[in-house]
C-alpha cells in the first residue's frame, strides 16, 4: 500500500518543531506501525537524511516504551500499544499524522521521543512497598479475596506508557497515579503505607506539573491496558481518608 506520513520533526529539546511529510510506496499491511517507521528510517538513512527518533523496546505490547499520537489518538485507532498496531488498520492512500505525547510534564527530547522521567519520580514517591518480600510467600498464609486480587491485577497491568496523559485534555496523570495507588491499596501488603503513599504520590504528581482530572474519561479510551476509570475515584477516596487523619 501507498501511504503518506506527516511526522513531528524536532531537532532537540530547545528547537522549534514542525510537521514534515514523507511518502512511502511499499508498505505491507502486515507490518507493525513501528516496522513502517523502521522502513521510513532506512529510506531516510539511504537518502542521507536524519532518521526519525522514536522510542521502542519489547515490541510486544508489554514494556510501555513505545507510544505516539496517531491521527490525534494516543497509540492510534486500536486499543493497544503503538507496536501492536498494524498497517492493515489503515487504507491505501491514507495520510497518517504522527506526533509525540504532548504534555507540560513530558518535554520533547527529539522528534517523537519525550522524557517520561516524571512517571519514575511519581513511583519513587510511593508506588512500592518497603517491607522486604523475600521469595514468593506461601500462597495460603495471607488470603486475598478473589475480587480484590482481580481488581489489583487489573490496575497492575499499567505499563506506564503515558497514553493517559497524552489523551487527557488537561494533561493529567491521574489514571497512571491512581492505577498504582489502587494496585497496592487493594492488597494486604500495601496497607501499612496506604495513607502516606497516596499523599506522596499526589504531591509528586502535582510537583511534576501534571494537570487535574475532570472525570471525562479520555484516558481510559486511550489506555492500551484498559485500566478502569474507577481507580481515580478510589484514589480520591483514599486521599480523603488520609487527609482526614491527624
Amino acid at each position: 500500500m501507498k501511504i503518506t506520513v506527516r511526522i513531528w520533526r524536532q531537532k532537540n529539546a530547545e528547537a522549534k518543531g514542525t510537521m514534515v511529510s514523507y511518502e512511502l510506496d511499499e508498505v505491507d499491511e502486515n507490518m507493525s506501525f513501528l516496522e513502517m517507521l523502521d522502513v521510513l528510517n532506512e529510506k531516510l538513512t539511504l537518502e542521507g537524511e536524519e532518521p526519525v527518533a522514536f522510542d521502542s523496546d519489547c515490541r510486544e505490547g508489554i514494556c510501555g516504551t513505545c507510544g505516539v499520537v496517531i491521527n490525534g489518538e494516543a497509540h492510534g485507532p486500536e486499543v493497544t500499544t503503538t507496536c501492536q498496531l498494524h498497517m492493515r488498520t489503515f487504507k491505501d492512500g491514507d495520510v497518517i499524522d504522527i506526533e509525540p505525547w504532548r504534555a507540560g510534564a513530558f518535554p520533547v527530547i527529539k522528534d517523537l521521543v519525550v522524557d517520561r522521567g516524571a512517571f519514575d519520580r511519581i513511583i519513587a514517591a510511593g508506588g512500592y512497598i518497603t517491607a522486604p518480600t523475600g521469595s514468593a510467600p506461601e500462597a495460603n498464609s495471607t488470603p486475598v479475596p478473589k475480587e480484590d486480587a482481580d481488581r489489583a491485577f487489573e490496575a497492575a497491568t499499567c505499563i506506564s506508557c503515558g497514553a493517559c496523559v497524552a489523551a487527557c485534555p488537561n494533561g493529567s496523570a491521574m489514571l497512571f497515579t491512581a492505577a498504582k495507588v489502587a494496585h497496592l491499596g487493594l492488597l494486604p501488603q500495601g496497607q501499612p503505607e496506604r495513607d502516606s503513599r497516596v499523599i506522596n504520590m499526589i504531591e509528586q504528581h502535582d510537583a511534576e506539573g501534571f494537570g487535574s482530572c475532570t472525570n471525562i474519561g479520555e484516558c481510559t479510551a486511550a489506555c492500551p491496558k484498559g485500566i478502569p476509570l474507577d481507580v481515580i475515584s478510589r484514589l480520591n477516596r483514599d486521599l480523603m481518608g488520609a487527609l482526614a487523619k491527624p
Binding site: 513530558f106 488537561n170 510537583a207 506539573g209 494537570g211 474507577d230
Partner: protein
C-alpha cells in the same frame, strides 16, 4: 519542569474536593429555588406568600430575612470557592497539556476527543455564561433594578411582567440550558471526585443517569414557569 512539592491538602485533588462540595451546595439550592418557582402555577397569592414566608422563616429565633441571609452567604462562599478552583485548575491544565501557541496536536483529526461529551466540553465557558446570567438575574428579579415589563413590589408581578416579553424568556432559556449542560457533566464529576464512582467507565456508572436525571429535572423545572407565562398558560 519539576516544582516544589505542595502539601496534599492543597493538591489538585483537594482543590477538586472544594469544587465538588461547593457545586453540590449550589445544586441543592437550585432544587429549592425550582420548587419556589413552580409556585407560580398556584397563583399570585400563593407565590407572594411563599416569598414572604422565606423572609419570616425561623422567626423569632432567626431575625427577619435571617434564613435568606444564611443561604445568601453560603451561596456567595460557594460561588467564590467554585470559581477560584475552576480558574486555578483551568490555568494549570492549560500549561500541563503542553499547548504550543494555540495548539496541542497539529493533526486536525480527533481534535474533539473520543469519550468526551458536549456537556464536558462546554463546562468552562458554560460556567462563565452562568455567572454573567446570575448577575443579570439578581439585578432583574431580586433587586428589580432592571425591570423589563415594569417594576413591582409583588414578586409574582415581577416574574409575570418580565416573562411576558419574548426576549427575556429567551435569555433565561439560554441560561437555564447552560445550567443544565453544566450539571449534566458536573454532578457526575463532583460525585466521582468525592470518590463515589465504582464503575469502569463514565457511561457504565450509576452516577451518570443520576446526573442526567437531576440536570433534566432542574432544566425543565426552571423552564416551565417562563414559557407558561410567555404562552399565556399562566399569569
Amino acid at each position: 519542569m519539576i516544582k516544589k512539592r505542595v502539601p496534599a491538602s492543597r493538591s489538585t485533588v483537594a482543590t477538586k474536593y472544594a469544587m465538588a462540595v461547593s457545586g453540590l451546595i449550589m445544586v441543592s439550592y437550585l432544587i429549592l429555588h425550582m420548587y419556589g418557582n413552580l409556585k407560580v402555577f398556584a397563583g399570585q397569592e400563593k407565590f407572594d406568600e411563599y416569598s414572604h414566608h422565606i423572609r419570616t422563616f425561623g422567626e423569632p429565633i432567626l431575625p427577619y430575612e435571617g434564613l435568606l441571609w444564611i443561604i445568601r452567604v453560603a451561596l456567595l462562599a460557594s460561588i467564590v470557592v467554585h470559581t477560584w478552583a475552576a480558574v486555578t485548575l483551568w490555568r494549570r491544565n492549560r500549561v500541563a497539556s503542553g499547548y504550543q501557541g494555540g495548539k496541542r496536536y497539529h493533526t486536525s483529526k480527533g481534535a474533539r476527543g473520543f469519550q468526551r461529551s458536549y456537556a464536558s466540553f462546554t463546562l468552562r465557558w458554560g460556567g462563565i455564561i452562568i455567572i454573567l446570567f446570575v448577575i443579570y438575574h439578581l439585578l432583574h428579579l431580586t433587586a428589580n433594578v432592571v425591570a423589563p415589563g415594569g417594576a413591582s413590589d409583588s414578586p409574582y408581578e415581577r416574574v409575570v411582567n418580565g416573562f411576558e416579553i419574548w426576549w427575556v424568556t429567551v435569555v433565561y432559556t439560554v441560561a437555564v440550558l447552560a445550567v443544565g449542560l453544566h450539571l449534566w457533566h458536573g454532578i457526575w464529576s463532583a460525585l466521582t471526585t468525592l470518590g463515589q464512582n465504582y464503575s469502569s467507565t463514565r457511561l457504565r456508572s450509576r452516577l451518570t443517569p443520576l446526573s442526567w436525571f437531576v440536570a433534566a429535572v432542574i432544566t425543565i423545572g426552571f423552564l416551565l414557569p417562563p414559557w407558561a407565562i410567555l404562552l399565556g398558560i399562566t399569569g
